[in-house]
């Protein structure tokens, strides 16, 4: 499913969070949204997910504005993984992952066999099957993050919007996570991730949108976007985009005066 937005304007309080932003993410690709703190990445993802109505412009999924999608239908098509890893009650990990199946369950119906399969495979994908009976509130930050990613995977979305999904994960689980996102994209899904880790963006994403102050500073392939000039202009750092054993790495060297 093609996810697009035209000329988005959003104000949060007095501050313009998005100022005339265009965006497109194609199925079969993983798209990174990067930019310094306060650039508007989370705001963009929330607008794309239909959670925040823009003051002007509109986001659309398959050519239909997200605001026009019936809530249940949109929830089956699109999963949104917020940056804040909120879990308010001491639910077991399995119960949390099972919440991803709510859009598929008719009112009053329990867990179907298909639900149970989706939950099991999401738990396995995020390597949390052994934690499934434990309350999420007793887990480490990284374990909780993986359970919440599994919740979004259990939703079996055609479009996945994930806000900083890798933050706080150890290197092995970061690579596993992006391996799964890559597999989702390869299966024809649309994956959009907001990221601070430029190396992950360079290595795994097909296209990158570099944001600055609510606008697009650059967009295109990692090679086009992650140039020393762009990184200096937007992040204010001297950085190099290099390859080590065939893997793209972006190395910030120093803050520019």
């Amino acid at each position: 499913m093609r996810l697009e937005a035209r000329n988005l304007h959003v104000r949060l309080g007095a501050r313009p969070a998005l100022a005339g932003l265009d965006f497109a993410a194609r199925p079969g690709e993983m798209t990174a949204v990067i930019g310094p703190n306060g650039a508007g990445k989370t705001t963009l993802l929330r607008v794309l997910a239909g959670l925040l109505p823009p003051a002007a412009g509109a986001a659309s999924l398959d050519g239909r504005p997200v605001a026009k999608w019936p809530a249940q239908e949109l929830a089956r098509a699109l999963a949104y993984l917020p940056q804040e890893r909120l879990v308010h009650w001491a639910l077991s990990a399995r119960r949390v992952v099972a919440l991803g199946r709510l859009p598929y369950q008719p009112l009053g119906a329990g867990e179907s066999a298909a639900d149970a399969r989706a939950i099991d495979s999401a738990l396995t994908a995020m390597d949390v099957t052994h934690l499934q009976g434990r309350p999420v509130l007793e887990m480490s930050g990284g374990e909780r993050a993986r359970v919440l990613v599994a919740r979004a995977l259990a939703q079996d979305p055609r479009v996945l919007l994930a806000d900083e999904p890798a933050a706080g994960l150890d290197p092995a689980h970061q690579l596993t996570l992006f391996g799964h996102f890559t597999a989702l994209a390869a299966a024809g899904r649309t994956v959009v991730v907001a990221l601070h880790d430029l190396s992950l963006a360079a290595r795994f994403c097909h296209s990158i949108v570099l944001m600055q102050a609510g606008r697009v500073a650059a967009a295109g392939t990692p090679r086009d976007v992650l140039t020393s000039e762009h990184l200096a202009a937007v992040y204010g750092v001297k950085a190099r985009h290099v390859e080590i054993e065939g893997v793209s790495v972006v190395l910030p060297l120093e803050v520019l005066p």
Binding site: R46, A49, G50, L51, A71, Q72, L74, A75, R76, L78, A79, Y80, L81, P82, E84, L86, V87, H88, W89, A90, L91, S92, A93, R94, R95, V96, L99, G100, L102, P103, Q105, L107, T129, H130, L131, Q132, G133, R134, P135, L148, R151, Q155
Partner: protein, 332 residues
């Protein structure tokens, strides 16, 4: 349920509800069978029928309905506000109902017309609900709802104090104070018919938000992205609480702590799932209030206690326990 290693086994949701329903049904039968006229379903003959129909049946029905409403509304508010300390009086409707009833006494309406008291309570609850919705808006977060509820409660408390202060007649003042303590005694079937349908309607609204509360465990954005209509949920919570707790308070006065205590005690048995906690707390609340009311009848020969006083006496130490528990959990 496939629980992982080291996990507490999670009771199946159906068996939890069956056990609680059994407890509530048993408490209901005991409530029908226990009274000053002896054990059993009343003495034989016409007197027994009258005692059963005019005294015990309305008392047991109200105990079940009011306890259920308080437990359910407490669970719904705790789930919606994601705060285990929330309780039905927080949204201002019990304050509004109390003010309505107090005004009915103060203006002398209650002396002329028996239904002025519950009607005043209902009108007070309805006005309080409209005020809370007007103040908090339809789309705001849970915090605005708490603030609006506190503001409306504060206004109601101030006006109740004013009515007590201006009361010319000491008997009226005593009547107001006693009414506010909450009681199930001397209620008729007519009062059950007046409040019952509203309580049941409110309960139906509250029971409809179970999925939304489950999803809200992950926060409002995640819940909305799972297809939950947050505005509808907020309306159902406010209207459901106003109808069930408003109508309950209008006929029985203020009965505190049931809405706080019952969801809290049952939460671990419901696997901490806010949706399952709704029917569980409804059944548990009914059972708890019925049992408390039976205890009152048993101690009646020695001391005349009002049920609102008893629930407060049980509920306040519970707060002390909560403090100690929280302190030990936060200790290094």
């Amino acid at each position: 349920m496939t629980a992982g290693t080291g996990a507490k086994p999670e009771a199946s949701s159906l068996s939890l509800l069956v056990v609680l329903a059994g407890a509530a049904a048993l408490a209901f039968l005991i409530s029908l069978a226990v009274g000053p006229s002896g054990l059993g379903f009343g003495p034989p003959g016409e007197a027994g029928v009258i005692i059963f129909r005019e005294i015990r049946l309305p008392r047991a029905l109200l105990g079940a309905l009011v306890g259920g409403a308080l437990g359910l509304a407490g669970a719904a508010l705790q789930g919606y506000l994601r705060n285990p300390l929330a309780e039905p009086s927080l949204v201002g409707v019990s304050g509004g109902a109390a003010l309505g009833a107090v005004l009915a006494i103060h203006l002398g309406l209650a002396a002329h017309f028996a239904f002025a008291l519950p009607l005043g309570g209902l009108i007070g609850a309805a006005v309080a609900m409209l005020a809370v919705v007007a103040l908090a808006g339809l789309h705001g977060g849970p915090m605005t709802l708490i603030l609006a509820g506190l503001a409306v409660s504060a206004i109601a408390t101030a006006l109740i104090s004013l009515a007590l202060n201006l009361s010319q007649n000491p008997f009226a003042a005593v009547e107001m104070v006693l009414w506010m303590m909450g009681s199930l005694t001397d209620r008729s079937l007519t009062q059950v018919w007046l409040a019952g349908p509203l309580i049941v309607l409110g309960m139906a609204l509250l029971l409809s938000v179970g999925r939304a509360l489950d999803a809200l465990t992950l926060g409002e954005d995640a819940a909305a992205s799972l297809g939950v209509d947050l505005t509808r949920t907020r309306l159902a919570i406010v209207a459901g609480t106003a109808l069930s707790v408003g109508a309950a308070t209008a006929v029985t006065g203020i009965i505190g702590f049931v809405g706080l205590l019952v969801p809290h005690l049952l939460r671990p048995f419901a696997g901490h799932r806010p949706g399952l906690l709704l029917p569980a707390s409804m059944l548990g609340g009914a059972a708890m209030l019925l049992v408390a009311d039976v205890v009152l009848r048993l101690v009646q020969p020695w001391v005349e206690l009002r049920i609102g006083v008893l629930t407060a006496l049980i509920g306040a130490p519970f707060f002390v326990w909560l403090v100690l528990k929280t302190r030990s959990e936060l200790a290094p």
